[in-house]
Point group: C2
Chain length 490, copies 2
């Protein structure tokens, strides 16, 4: 297993010099300045944008730079030209401020807009292949067990079918979850577990409880792109720390704590998304020590935990739920149609989370909890996961073998799961490649969508369960050739 | 039907003079000042609270006032005394700041803490009676139809059971919803309808899209208490306008628009919660005109729409979804266990809401949508609702007849639904009565829980479907006697 950080790996990957992350051009800086003023409501819908001359003076750029920026913004529909009267903010200022959800501020291609990748994957028709998507095909899910649970539920007492769940959620499922997390060394009573509609909603509630607008939150670079979209919805500053094959780069982590005083660190311990890397006990221990010293709270998102062959250390187990909150869900392993996630946390925080859950979504999804409990309680889920892990290991080997002739090399050998995080050869721009592939109905996940610091320009995340179709490799190969030809090779 | 406003009605209800809303005492003001400093993090967990002498000077109150305030806060666990060293903020500052979710700032009894009423109702065992709760008993819900839908789903294609839904949510359900809202005169294409996990989540997403922390939002006085808890989670200022039997008091509404420049107005058009009152066409038209003049956006929560005997006007129909957003859900009429709500809005807002839905909860509850669609698509739901409306009308008449001997008079004759909003005789304090009843395992809903301006001191909201048990009246009668005795009669 490599022990280089992502940046080191990327730098050493090819003999050619990879240029540093491209700085935003002047035009892009002007565009960003306008977007920021719209996002902050300094410029409301329908208001006049500063004149070209005055804005050029304000930003100390040439008028031609502002002209180009305004024209590009007009092409995007952000502002509108009115003949003889200058530019005005479009009617949808609130919506536009959402652009900030997706991007790190600098210009983003739609192909690396995380929300857009999610929407492509969610809305893709059957003809579209999705090697870039973050979940398994329906055929790989424990469909018979879900059908059995539905039939059993059709005979359950009426309240299970029509009434609200309790504030914490179905007691029997929480008891079962307490036993499951105990297998990872996390000691939690059932009343320290709150059921949510999803792992994402769990993190969302934690953000509502623990962060204020303007706080700083740490994430990994790279990290699951929706973390960033979610955090931006909470108006926090997102700072990333390079991820190594054994966890966050400790020196950079310590430096980030000192420099930015983050309130939260959101990460995956087992089978990190997108890299498939795993936290080592040594790094886990050091991260916790640093967290204790600086009062940092850690959100450990463990939604890929059941995909591990051998259990990696869990921060929540080392820490005893003092400053670590543990998150799980069954969307990836059991059913994404049945929304059910959970938070394991210290009791005081659970109290606050209940109030927030009621305020923002009222009762929980009792039916979903019943179905998940129905599938988990007999042995079929464990058998299904054992078989699934074997199937994924084989798909992983096959996908790697098929990517190798294209010169695509995995960054690390994952200990399980569905993801291969791999670099394109010759410093090819993954965003350009993803754009070409999308035209051929293949959704790829370009690296920079996962990178706050935009350090993963040449990377792609492959989902091995969605990559078996020959067309994936054919289209990828063609897209790489096309990207080379059109001069995206740097 | 009465045409008095709530305050007028209350004032005229008894010959005795009802005192004005009790102003916070000095001690309560000091307590509030400490809470605010904790909520704003000016005072973090474990930090020292200002000394008694200095705080007395800051707030221009006597030291004995501060002493009493600190002692009460210590009794509540908000701060802790350390011998010889003064008072310190307790360990759970984050959680404490949540107190702001529930209250209007002034001291709140737990019995009028909206979140606590919700939790009592959600977590109540079978022995507890819940005339104060906001939904129907399980036995009144269309259980056979839900069972049928579950059995059909157990035979559905695998993707329906295990895969994520599309970004907007199940197309067939959105088509059906488009036809349903058209029956109320709301013209919306299926792609103007976004499925959510609940009506509450729909409003939560709208707040994320349309308001900024510090904005002002208008609600009715009284209003559904969870609106206020939800809005406080968004850090907005909540201002209320008195509600009359035909909608908001127009003069006060206009005044609030001029004075507070609210960004949103959140209301129910049909069968207003808690009063059961209905917007008149005249008031609807005037409200929309005022909204247009001031750029106000209106969120029309229509979750009790299917309980109407005759359709009241919908703001969204008059407005054509220009500045009104229409919300619905099936939690009250079909199943609360199956979480499924929806937003009907102009297309640009739907785009922004999709991004926010993905960022904060990722995919939607496909399974819930399938079940709701299964129940709605055949005629059984319509038949069920027709029968339910009849059953509720009878329960309404019975409940009124049983309340009358206690001197409890409905404020307005509702045109349907499950709620009676009624005043206690002799200016009795409903919070005191609710406290006594709770000790006897009867959950009541005291008026001030619904009133931001705390103008509903003597009111209770009765759910007629949960009030048939003789014990409700017996316990209520005893609680009223007890409240009278203990001098809560004013």
């Amino acid at each position: 297993m490599a022990t280089l950080s992502l940046a080191e790996f990327q730098a050493g990957m090819t003999d050619e010099t990879i240029p540093p992350i491209r700085a935003a051009t002047r035009v892009e800086q002007v565009m960003l300045a306008v977007r920021q003023r719209i996002a902050s409501r300094e410029l409301g819908a329908g208001t006049k944008v500063p004149s070209i001359r005055s804005f050029a003076h304000t930003l100390q750029v040439s008028t031609s730079t502002v002209v180009e920026a305004y024209e590009r913004l007009a092409a995007e529909g952000v502002i509108q030209a009115r003949r003889g009267s200058g530019f005005y903010v479009g009617g949808h200022a609130s919506r536009l401020s959402l652009a900030g959800l997706a991007g790190s501020g600098a210009r983003r291609d739609r192909a690396v807009d995380p929300l857009w990748i999610s929407r492509q994957s969610l809305d893709a028709g059957d003809a579209v292949l999705k090697p870039g998507c973050g979940w398994l095909p329906a055929a790989w899910m424990p469909e018979p067990a879900v059908r059995r649970a539905l039939r059993a539920l059709a005979r359950a007492p009426g309240a299970s079918l029509t009434d609200y769940g309790t504030a914490l959620g179905m007691p029997a499922l929480r008891q079962l979850l307490a036993r499951r997390v105990a297998e990872h060394g996390i000691e939690a009573a059932p009343d320290q577990i709150l059921l949510t509609e999803s792992g994402t909603q769990a993190i969302d509630l934690l953000c509502r409880l623990l962060v204020e607008p303007g706080d700083t939150v740490l994430v990994d670079d790279p990290c699951y792109f929706n973390f960033v979209a979610l955090l931006r919805a909470h108006r926090v500053r997102v700072v990333s720390v390079p991820f190594t094959p054994t966890g966050p780069d400790l020196a950079r982590f310590e430096q980030a704590l000192a420099e930015h005083r983050p309130r939260l660190y959101v990460t995956n311990s087992a089978l990190h998304n997108p890299t498939g890397a795993t936290l080592s006990p040594l790094v886990a221990h050091r991260v916790l020590k640093l967290a204790e010293q600086t009062g940092l709270t850690i959100v450990e998102d463990d939604i890929y935990g059941d995909f591990e062959h051998d259990a990696a250390p869990r921060l929540a187990a080392f820490d005893g739920l003092e400053r670590v909150v543990h998150i799980g869900s069954f969307s990836k392993s059991l059913s994404a149609a049945t929304r059910c996630g959970y938070v394991v946390a210290r009791r005081e925080w659970i109290e606050g989370l209940i109030d927030l859950k009621i305020a923002t979504s009222f009762g929980g999804g009792r039916l979903s909890a019943e179905i998940v409990h129905g599938v988990l309680k007999d042995g079929s889920y464990r058998r299904h996961m054992a078989a699934l892990r074997g199937r994924l290991a084989q798909a992983m080997a096959e996908t790697r073998a098929r990517l190798k002739p294209l010169g695509i090399v995995p960054w690390v050998e994952p200990r399980g799961g569905m993801f291969v995080w791999a670099a394109l050869p010759d410093g090819l721009d993954a965003t350009a490649v993803a754009g070409c592939a999308l035209a051929e109905d293949v959704v790829l996940a370009p690296g920079n969508a996962f990178s706050v610091a935009q350090t993963a320009r040449s990377f792609l995340r492959f989902n091995v369960s969605q990559s078996a179709d020959d067309r994936v490799i054919r289209v990828l190969d063609a897209a790489m050739r096309s990207a080379r030809r059109s001069g995206n090779q740097k």
